[in-house]
Amino acid sequence: MSLRDWFENRRNKQLNADLVESKISGDDLLKLWEKCYNCNTSIPQKELEQNMHVCPKCDYHFRIGARERLEQLLDEDSFEEINSNMLPSDPLDFVDTMRYKTRQVDARKKTNLNEAVVTGIGKISDWEVAVAVMDFAYMGGSMGSVVGEKITRLIEEGIKRKIPIIAVTSSGGARMQESCLSLMQMAKTSCAVARANEQKILYITVLTEPTFGGVTASFGTLGDIIIAEQGARIGFAGRRVIEQTIRQKLPSDFQTAEYLLKYGHVDMVFHRSGLKSTLEKLIRIHAPAKQKVNT
């Protein structure tokens, strides 16, 4: 979209006023718009934010970062991060087309995150919860030692405090750069879920765009309740791998949240705007009343 189109089609007068006032350059102006991958409509950033990063025209759910997700799900200022300083190391000295160490630095710069998951304690409509949110922007949300350890510690914290545990996933799978150590994180996190089961602690997973491989095959699909976000692609093997193996075209709705619902792998599919209230309902229905925090 050209700048002239933008001025002609502007939908948010307030935004325009702000821009004129602050004398932002043309390049910056373009950055303030985002194009919908699905319907190609250009949407002002501000409007997109107000709409929870969902296209107002076609309902396409944009991928969002861990911080934004936490803001959307938790009560204002209720989040206290734990294990935030844990950093990845490079135990195998791994190099592919780039050094793993360089990839870590780049990912950190790009996302302002120390790793691909943020964990902590927060509140959903006054209910205390242990929550983990993955961020796809950090190396494809891949699970290496840090992600596995942070998820495990979060589950342990939830068990200790006897509060519901919520994991919001977004991941391409296990992190290849840590090889078998990454594979073992699948076992480690699943063992932690086993303990939560034995202690009858409610564990809910929210699968968001995209969730694949080692996360699907471990803590991602082990929720007592599994919620999928509308339109998210979720699966074990990637589309390309399956196409190469079976050499046939895949159905267009293959591996979407709706497809998984049809085949019985998730309990429910929700629009982003309904997630928080759904979580609140689930927690309320499953928990004794005394657990609610007095505010």
Partner: protein, 320 residues
Amino acid sequence: MNKQFTPLEFEKSIYQIEDKIEELKKLSSETGINLDDQVKLLTNQAFEFKKQLYSSLTPSQKLQIARHAKRPTFLDYVSLITTDWLELHGDRAGTDDRAIIGGVAQIDGKSVMLIGTQKGRTTKENIEYNFGMPQPEGYRKALRLFYHADRFNLPIITLIDTPGAYPGIKAEQTGQGTAIAVNLREMAKLETPIVSVILGEGCSGGALGLAVSNRVYMFEHSLYTVISPEGCASILWRSADMASTAAENLKITSDDLLQMEIIDGIIKEPLGGAHYDWDFAAAELKNTVLESIDEMSGMSGTELKSDRHEKFRRMGVFIE
């Protein structure tokens, strides 16, 4: 070494020396000239050379041994180490996946549950066993057998040789990821000893889905990896030609895994690999699993569970 196999590329020089030895022996018997000293010398040299060669294999050379068509499979080991084997079929939900086979048997009079991934040799077998790539139904059959073993206090032995869980439309429809995840979680809850051995290929979640165990061993030339070297190369290098580099960098050999403290020990193979001497490999396997079951015989169900839990709890390397 007898010439029962087509030599692998790196074995060609050995086969040449052995041809030479045969020639000398033939010459000696035809002409009556005593060449015993020369034959003996050459035989000793060949042996030293082989020892050297097979103890310094690259990961991709080991990969060729691990995938060797004559390498003993799960069912070969079952027939070599057990008596009274009875296969238990089916997931009780409509399917008997043949890529994962399970059953009860005795090893030296000790009752056990054996579960493994099966590979074939002929086209017909490969189709039946799907090249050792299980469907979700295979993992669910394994889970049913895990519960059975738990109920009757049978130690569980899983023997793994798989390129990975099958990637297909139906596998996604019936929940490949969920089936593996549930096995990881449920294995953590079992109160009977579990011993796993990687026989050949132990690739990704497809292998781990049978290996959340108290003890995990690898055969000397087997591999255990988060993704097949080919898969890794095509994703990270965008070229399948980089598979041997990927195999190198992924650190997938038994020595690597022992060093990373992911496995508990390495099971020795005969010189050249298990396919050269099935009985040798089977005897080593039998000793290892019996010893490790014996070690755990005094542990209670709760102790076995926390032993397994703590084993995996420790895994991972990070900075804090």
